[in-house]
């Protein structure tokens, strides 16, 4: 029997290789590409530090993001999970205690892997294996914790250097911080705790250069901001700056600006006068018309839609000529941009100026009619818009609409599976349009047969 030695070197029979436990783990014999030895205390006892951790907890916590596989000898053949309490049978095979006991209690009298009959149903705890598993997991756990602390440390460090930086240095620090946040979203809390958000907010003002402002906004849209932070950002001068960047920036900056404003609009303390700026709305409109960047169009429409819910801003939107420009864009829009665009026009049609603008634009009626039935939401908005226009000037607009094929479309709506209220509105609209016609004329205009009527 070989003499027991703590850090001994065991001779493996037939192999002639001398291996010790530390090397075994370090050199990856038991797996572990990233290597690194077992934790060793000063007195040489292995894994004593690791025993402070709860193995089960670590096994559960260690996510697959670690990137390496758990060594196969650590896995229970029954559950295919790492073992936290390995026990060995008389056949020499090792299993997770709970699972093998269950196996035996179900009446099985053989070893699950070797299928040998069990001459002894005692299970012996395998301390050695347990120690190894504990060591392996603790090591990975500590490394991952360290790496995470490193990242948090880096984030805190970046925030500090940002506070001191000026000029070009400031722009670079902002870029570094943004990259870190995008790579490691977990640094969010550290950034907030080290005063990062407050500092970023203070960087926005009437004298902020575009270079600095665009980076700050890019960072802020990637953080989850609390109510206090958002309220602090809701100052006219800051929002003005965002409006300027919406006008002048690259497409990415513009999209970030729209997201930023939408984020602020979600707050209770938001006031509509913040967005009732002509230059901001003009910038949004320009974004919506920029065919080179479909994601810009979507972002712009989303914000414009949110803005159009504020009654006081609607007349301003109309005054900058949004209506004809939006109507003209409708045919070219991708399907998921149609709904917000129509929603905007629907909101605008609730105002007198909006109705006038819609009526004056010759394309409105034909395009609106064409878009009915493309989706329930589009239909709802289309019907509402048409209702508002036709109500304004029934004589002229009704006939235009009928000429464009509104009758047939409305019939489809009424017969569709759409919402009952929508169908009712469609019916009213059809009635309104039919008022100036005799029944036969109307039916022929709608290309109806008697049966459908």
């Amino acid at each position: 029997m070989p003499q027991y030695r703590q850090q001994g070197q065991w001779r493996l029979e037939g192999r002639g290789q001398v291996i010790d436990l530390q090397t075994a783990v370090k050199d990856g014999i038991l797996g572990g590409r990233s290597g690194g030895g077992l934790l060793a205390e000063k007195d040489g006892t292995l894994v004593t530090a690791a025993e402070k951790f709860d193995l089960k907890k670590m096994v559960d916590e260690l996510d697959s993001a670690v990137g390496e596989d758990v060594p196969s000898v650590f896995i229970c053949p029954i559950s295919l999970e790492p073992m936290v309490d390995p026990v060995t049978l008389c056949t020499g095979q090792t299993y997770e205690r709970a699972h093998i006991l269950k196996w035996i209690s179900l009446g099985h009298l053989n070893c699950p892997t070797t299928m040998q009959e069990l001459w002894d149903d005692d299970v012996t705890p395998n301390h050695t294996l347990r120690q190894l598993i504990l060591a392996w997991f603790s090591q990975r756990h500590l490394l991952s914790k360290k790496r995470s602390e490193d990242v948090q440390g880096r984030a805190a460090g970046l925030v500090q250097s940002l506070k001191k930086a000026k000029g070009q240095g400031r722009v670079q620090a902002l870029k570094d911080l943004l990259k870190l946040i995008l790579d490691q979203p977990s640094v969010e809390k550290t950034v907030a705790d080290s005063g990062g958000v407050t500092h970023l907010s203070s960087l926005l003002g009437p004298f902020t250069s575009h270079a600095v402002g665009s980076e700050v906004i890019a960072i802020l849209v990637n953080l989850r901001l609390g109510t206090d932070a958002k309220t602090n950002l809701m100052q006219p001068a800051k929002i003005s700056l965002v409006g300027d960047m919406l006008n002048e920036g690259t497409i990415d900056t513009k999209i970030n600006c729209t997201k930023f404003i939408e984020m602020l609009m979600g707050e209770k303390s938001f006031r509509s006068e913040f967005v009732s700026s002509p230059s901001l709305l003009v910038a949004l409109l320009r974004l919506v018309k920029d065919e080179r960047h479909p994601n810009g169009i979507a972002a712009g429409l989303s914000l414009l839609k949110s803005v159009s819910f504020h009654e006081h801003v609607r007349s301003l939107i109309v005054s900058i000529g949004a209506v004809p420009q939006l109507v003209e864009r409708l045919p070219n829009l991708l399907p998921d941009c149609l709904e917000p665009a129509l929603h905007i026009l629907d909101n605008l049609s609730a105002t007198a100026e909006g109705q006038m603008a819609l009526k004056n634009c010759p394309q409105t009626i034909p395009i609106a009619v064409k878009l009915l039935m493309t989706s329930e939401a589009c239909t709802r908005h289309g019907v509402s818009i048409l209702w508002n226009i036709i109500n304004l000037a029934p004589d002229v607009c009704a006939s235009l609409a009928i000429e464009a094929g509104l009758g047939a479309k409305l019939l489809f709506v009424i017969q569709s599976g759409y919402d009952a209220e929508l169908k009712q509105r469609a019916a009213y609209l059809l009635k309104l349009c039919s008022l100036n016609y005799t029944t036969t004329l109307f039916m022929s205009k709608c290309k109806l047969t008697r049966t459908i009527q």
């Binding site: 004298f207 575009h210 006219p236 001068a237 006008n247 009732s276 003009v282 320009r286 005054s319």
Partner: protein
């Protein structure tokens, strides 16, 4: 102009070369013509790299002060000789100011016979009359210590102070206080005006002045050059000369937002802010600025800040729908944003849809503050550079 030039060369050539054989004449003419063509091409190319900025705005909106600031920031500033030359200007300003105040006090006292708050006390009346007399002449005497003392005494008279606080009804210049506070320095025999004195000095600009300078930072390396033009602001035949500035890179329009309760120098029935509004509208409509970027400097913010606490914005007809929110810092910001929005709306109302793409930016300025002007100009420079890149399709 080119054709005229070549015509004269041809005629010159034929004139002096009667002795020379014909083909030699041709060759010489061709060389000269080619040389001139080359020079013209070179200068045109050089001109293209020069960004021309035109300062426009009503009188006393701060255009010339910006001009001086640019000189101080980006050029060698004022030399000793030029500084000294401003001494007489400053003295003249002092005399003009105290005269306006004294005459103004008399006028206000007349209009309000029941109250005595505008009545200058008897001891100071003589001083007042004497100074008023001096101020009405064409030449002013040197500001001696004695006269300075008399002016100070008069300035400290409660009636004059009261008049000053109602300065909006008169034509009291904004820097009146600055002048009065520095009288002792001004009256030194060896007085040489400081840079700040020069910035405050008030001379009506006539004609056009221009300076050329290179901006700071990255643009300097690329050899970008700016040329700034300053024209007089008072009402005169603007429409006759404005087209000479066709195609400038940028129009810097100065509007002093603190003058919402003041009247024009040329026409004391007209509110200054309304005049500025009309001028801005007129400028926007000019076809010669179709492609120029518009930078709007909302100037004299420091005076605006103080005034807004005492005089509500609604005294100006354009701002009659203003609703105050509170007081202090918040109110100032709110009022400023209101004015800014009014100007924005004005801009978009007066810009044809196809012109909406030209750059338009509003800056808050206090042109007497050199640091602020430097920061503001950096932003202007950044905007113009980005504009260039966008137009070249690089952004």
């Amino acid at each position: 102009m080119r054709s005229m030039l070549s015509l004269s060369i041809v005629s010159m050539g034929s004139f002096c070369s009667r002795q020379q054989p014909l083909n030699e004449v041709d060759a010489e003419e061709n060389i000269q013509a080619a040389e001139i063509d080359r020079r013209i091409a070179q200068e045109t190319k050089a001109e293209q790299h020069i960004h021309k900025l035109l300062l426009l705005g009503a009188g006393e909106s701060g255009k010339s002060t910006i001009f001086k600031q640019i000189r101080l920031l980006f050029q060698t500033g004022f030399d000793e000789v030029e500084l000294k030359s401003y001494a007489s200007v400053i003295h003249a300003n002092v005399y003009q100011t105290i005269k306006i105040l004294y005459d103004g006090a008399k006028e206000l006292a007349q209009n309000d016979p029941s109250s005595s708050k505008y009545v200058v006390c008897t001891e100071n009346k003589d001083i007042g009359e004497k100074l008023s007399e001096i101020g009405s002449k064409m030449d002013y005497p040197y500001l001696t210590k004695e006269i300075a003392k008399e002016i100070t005494t008069l300035w400290n008279d409660p009636a004059i102070q009261e008049t000053y606080s109602h300065g909006n009804k008169l034509q009291v210049p904004d820097c009146a206080q600055y002048f009065m506070e520095n009288l002792e320095r001004f009256s030194e025999a060896t007085y040489v005006p400081t840079k700040e004195d020069v910035l405050h000095a008030r001379v009506r600009t006539t004609g056009v002045v221009e300076i050329q300078f290179s901006p700071v930072g990255e643009s300097r390396k690329s050899g970008e050059v700016y040329r700034l033009y300053d024209v007089g602001g008072q009402r005169n035949e603007r429409r006759k000369w404005i087209h000479l500035f066709e195609g400038v890179t940028s129009v810097i329009f100065c509007a002093a937002i603190s003058e919402y309760d003041q009247l024009l120098f040329e026409d004391e029935t007209k509110n200054r802010m309304m005049e500025t509004k009309e001028l801005f509208e007129w400028v926007l409509k000019q076809s010669c600025f179709e492609k120029s970027s518009f930078m709007l400097f909302l100037n004299k913010f420091d005076i605006f800040e103080k005034k807004i606490q005492k005089v509500p914005l609604n005294v100006c007809e354009w701002f009659k729908d203003y609703q105050p929110v509170g007081s202090g810092r918040q109110e100032v910001e709110h009022a400023y944003e209101f004015v800014k929005k009014k100007y924005e709306e004005l801009y978009f109302q007066n810009s044809k849809p196809d012109r909406v793409d030209r750059a338009f930016k509003i800056y808050r300025t206090t042109v007497l503050d050199q640091k602020l002007i430097k920061k503001t100009f950096k932003l202007v420079d950044e905007t113009l550079r980005r504009r260039n890149l966008i137009e070249a399709g690089l952004l």
